[in-house]
């Protein structure tokens, strides 16, 4: 089993099974560019720095990739059928402790940076699920969004929504 070392922004080393990293478009590209797959390259001696991902987040990402090892990755533009995606129970439990917290947001940003399509899709879906059935002020409160509307603006928008309902 070939191990490849990932180095987080806070310089923690994570030795990861080569196979797992196929899920990350960004790392896959780096592996190819660094010729880490060549037999005469000593992959163990060439760690991959990920200056945009912190150790605790990277740990979660690797945990997620381990669980999803071998999952098929949907290709192409699937923006039209995201509505049908269901977050599996395992992933829901995985996201839940961090939900509404910065960890989950960081995980989402890392999934986007590392180009791990399935993680990004599910993570976004889990966030959007928290919006369902909520009002604007409720979303604000739950997700720490400051209220920037003046009472007049709020009133105007409220009226507009009455129209569109």
């Amino acid at each position: 089993m070939v191990l490849i070392t990932l180095v987080s922004s806070d310089e923690q080393n994570f030795p990861v099974e080569r196979e797992l990293l196929k899920q990350s478009g960004t790392i896959e590209t780096l592996i190819v560019n660094m010729n880490l797959d060549d037999e005469d390259t000593d992959a163990a001696a060439m760690p991959i720095p990920l200056p945009n991902v912190k150790g605790d987040v990277l740990e979660k990402v690797i945990q997620w990739m381990e669980h999803h090892k071998g999952d098929p990755v949907k290709e192409g533009d699937n923006e039209d059928n995201n509505a049908e995606i269901v977050v599996p129970q395992w992933d829901d439990d995985f996201f839940k402790p961090a939900m509404y917290g910065s960890k989950h947001l960081e995980l989402t940003v890392a999934a986007s940076y590392l180009d791990i399509k399935n993680l990004l899709t599910l993570s976004c879906k889990a966030i959007s699920n928290t919006f369902k059935g909520k009002t604007g002020p409720q979303i604000r409160e739950e997700w720490g969004v400051p209220n920037e509307f003046t009472p007049e603006e709020e009133e105007a928008i409220r009226k507009e929504n009455e129209w569109s309902e």
């Binding site: 922004s9 923006e79 940003v109 990004l120 899709t121 879906k125 959007s128 929504n161 129209w163 569109s164």
Partner: protein, 367 residues
């Protein structure tokens, strides 16, 4: 319309947070285990999140914060009752109307105020992104240049609609580019399309026929080619309305054998009001398409030059029933009817379509 203009005055987008900001913020918050702000997510991720929601579920985004409001707007896929596109010398605007509220992008002079010309800005190009409109009504009241045609096409590129109405109120050159671009990548088999070349302007029949030939299969088609080749008549029409356009067979025409065949093959119900230059064989060929059609309801109605109709009626192998000047030919095996009736002027009306057991043309509801 203007009351809702302020809706388009959206706030400047907040700067994309960098991951550095995100991490810094996290450091601060970790101590207290406080909630994070979703505002740290960059636009593309917020758009992905919003895109998972239905139209109704997206409604509260507008009241959450200004950035959400704008992103929701940019995500598009809005549903409108109607989208109107009006392109005249004075002004040009796109208006999306839903439940009595108008959402506009525009340029030119509106209600005395002069605005810059409509440009292909990111905002304008995304305004109707993936929008759905029950009706899309386009009115060209000036000659388009190539760049205007492209702008209109790109703004409407991803709009879907159930009904399309196009009104040519000027001699047009690039309509040939704009309108077919609305047929591309869309399934219009259940749609209704109206093409109207307004009288009182000169219209090139060949250009109109070229456009008709590009029509995809649609459920209902209505064509009005109320052209007048006489300047004085055009003036009178503009001033006083009705003028008999069908007095002579001369002049520009919208229908010939090829367009008739195309329309008959591609529509369930077509009404073509305008001069035609169909041959007897062309009309019989179109009727053959009707007879062979598996549809239970089908109707094609148009005007044909009277000598051509007389030629068909006198064909010895065809047995028309006639009373007064109405001539009916029913093909019982395929429940199809070909009917001519006299019309003042140089043209007769032709109806071809499916009939019920009693030989009556199956009537159509407008919808």
């Amino acid at each position: 319309m203007l009351s809702s203009l302020k809706k388009k005055m959206l706030p400047n987008r907040s700067k994309k947070p960098t991951l550095f900001d995100l991490l810094k913020k996290e450091d601060d918050e970790e101590k207290t285990q406080a909630q994070a702000s979703i505002s740290v997510l960059p636009d593309d991720l917020l758009l992905m999140i919003f895109d998972n929601l239905s139209m109704e579920e997206r409604t509260p985004l507008g009241t959450t914060c200004k950035r959400f409001r704008e992103l929701d707007f940019e995500l598009g896929k809005r549903k409108f009752d109607s989208i109107y596109v009006n392109w005249s010398k004075k002004c040009h605007h796109f208006t999306g109307r839903v439940a009595g509220i108008d959402y506009n992008i525009y340029g030119g002079t509106i209600e005395g105020k002069v605005y810059p010309h409509l440009q292909a800005t990111r905002h304008n190009l995304r305004f109707f992104r993936k929008a759905f409109a029950k009706q899309l009504i386009i009115s060209f009241a000036m000659k388009l240049d190539k760049s205007e045609a492209e702008l209109i096409s790109s703004i409407l590129k991803t709009v879907t609609f159930r009904e399309l109405g196009v009104f040519f109120e000027a001699t047009n050159e690039y309509d040939a580019d704009v309108i077919p671009s609305l047929f591309k990548h869309r399934d219009l088999e259940l749609a209704k399309v109206t093409l109207c070349w307004k009288r009182s302007f000169f219209h090139d029949g060949k250009r109109a026929r070229n456009l008709v030939m590009k029509l995809p299969p649609v459920k209902k088609l209505q064509i009005e080619f109320e052209y007048s080749d006489n300047k004085f008549k055009r003036f009178l029409n503009k001033k006083f309305g009705l003028f008999n356009e069908f007095a002579t067979v001369d002049g520009e025409y919208v229908l010939d054998d090829a367009t008739l065949q195309h329309i008959t093959s591609n529509t369930n119900h077509a009404v073509i009001v305008g001069k035609s230059k169909c041959s007897a064989q062309g009309i019989l060929n179109a009727f053959k398409i009707v007879r062979q059609s598996p549809l239970e309801k089908k109707l094609v109605f148009f005007f044909a030059p009277r000598p051509i109709i007389e030629e068909i009626i006198s064909m010895p192998n065809l047995c028309f029933d006639n009373y007064d000047w109405n001539h009916d030919l029913i093909d019982r095996s395929s429940k199809s009817l070909l009917a001519f009736s006299e019309k003042t002027g140089a043209f007769c009306t032709v109806s071809m379509g499916k009939v019920d057991e009693n030989g009556k043309m199956i009537s159509w509801n407008i919808d």
